[in-house]
Subunit: 191 residues, 2 copies
């Protein structure tokens, strides 16, 4: 996606060979026109999938998620993150480990918002190790629903998430793919 790629080049800050900071348009300050285009692009890529719900995770997934849900004309659900939880009957819970923060969170979705007939598109801002995407996918599967695909705004292709998701049988569509962060420069996967 050219517009997004340009944003990453113009505004992304390479903090290390692992970390790209994009807080001027995606993670803290958000560019709503870009988010709208992201929603359109995910919709184009998953147009044949008869999506009934978009699922994301708070907080940075919500803006691309709601724009995708708007284009697809289906509801968005955002999973909540919690440190720990007294187990409840009416929610799906999965544990997700964050390598960035070196901590585990429980992510939760109310059972009433996901049915076995649902065809769910998972959206997230970043893909690195795939922990969040796998956690969301496990929640969909707990509900007996179908994961039709995983849409990622920025994929760090040098980390194992994409490969692990593909091996598990998921379709992954990433709007930009980053091959490496070297010497302060973003190198994209050429497709």
């Amino acid at each position: 996606m050219e517009l997004l790629r340009k944003k990453v080049i113009d505004e992304g800050i390479v903090l290390s060979n692992q970390v790209l900071k994009v807080d001027s348009f995606l993670n803290h300050q958000m560019d709503p026109v870009l988010m709208k285009e992201v929603g359109k692009e995910f919709t184009r890529r998953f147009a044949d999938q008869e999506v009934t719900r978009v699922l994301t995770i708070e907080s940075s997934g919500i803006a691309p998620g709601i724009m995708t849900a708007l284009e697809l004309n289906v509801p968005l659900i955002f999973a909540r993150k919690q440190k720990s939880l007294t187990l409840k009957q009416d929610i799906y819970v999965e544990k997700v480990f964050s390598f960035t923060k070196q901590e585990s969170n429980e992510i939760t979705v109310s059972k009433k918002f996901m049915k076995p007939t649902d065809r769910v598109l998972i959206i997230d801002d970043f893909l690195a190790n795939g922990e969040a995407a796998f956690g969301l996918a496990r929640i969909v599967e707990q509900a007996g629903a179908t994961v039709v695909g995983i849409g990622i705004v920025i994929e760090k292709s040098f980390q194992p998430g994409r490969q692990l998701l593909l091996e598990a049988g998921y379709r992954v569509e990433s709007l930009v793919r980053i091959a490496a962060l070297d010497n302060g420069t973003v190198n994209f996967v050429e497709e």
Copy 2:
């Protein structure tokens, strides 16, 4: 706002005389078409204010915030909530107490995204005691910028937030105003 009022009547669940659950369209599952209309309505109400930035707080403020920012064609910033924080030079920090959760959080905004020339519209999903709105307003004022108004999706008018914000000199625009939650019924403020 009639569409929103209808949603509250049809899908809101009165849990007590203090708590209205709207997790089917605003707080967990989100209705993107409704969020788009919310964004249009805030834009209509603040059209004369030359807004340069929309400010909200994670997580439930992000969807109405991004739709408002899209209509106004300005960036959205979402303040992050954190339990505690090692103080940093490059962020504005304010303490916000949540009566619902009975806990304090620190909310933060990067200094680089707010300038003294900014005219900031604050958006949030709920207004009860006004703690979050005041915290966001204090951040804008730390930056030397101007709060042009506060846009609220659902106001619990029987709690003191609105009155306190008006007394402090802020303009408050709430899309629905709830007078009372009695015997499982939502009573609206008639305007």
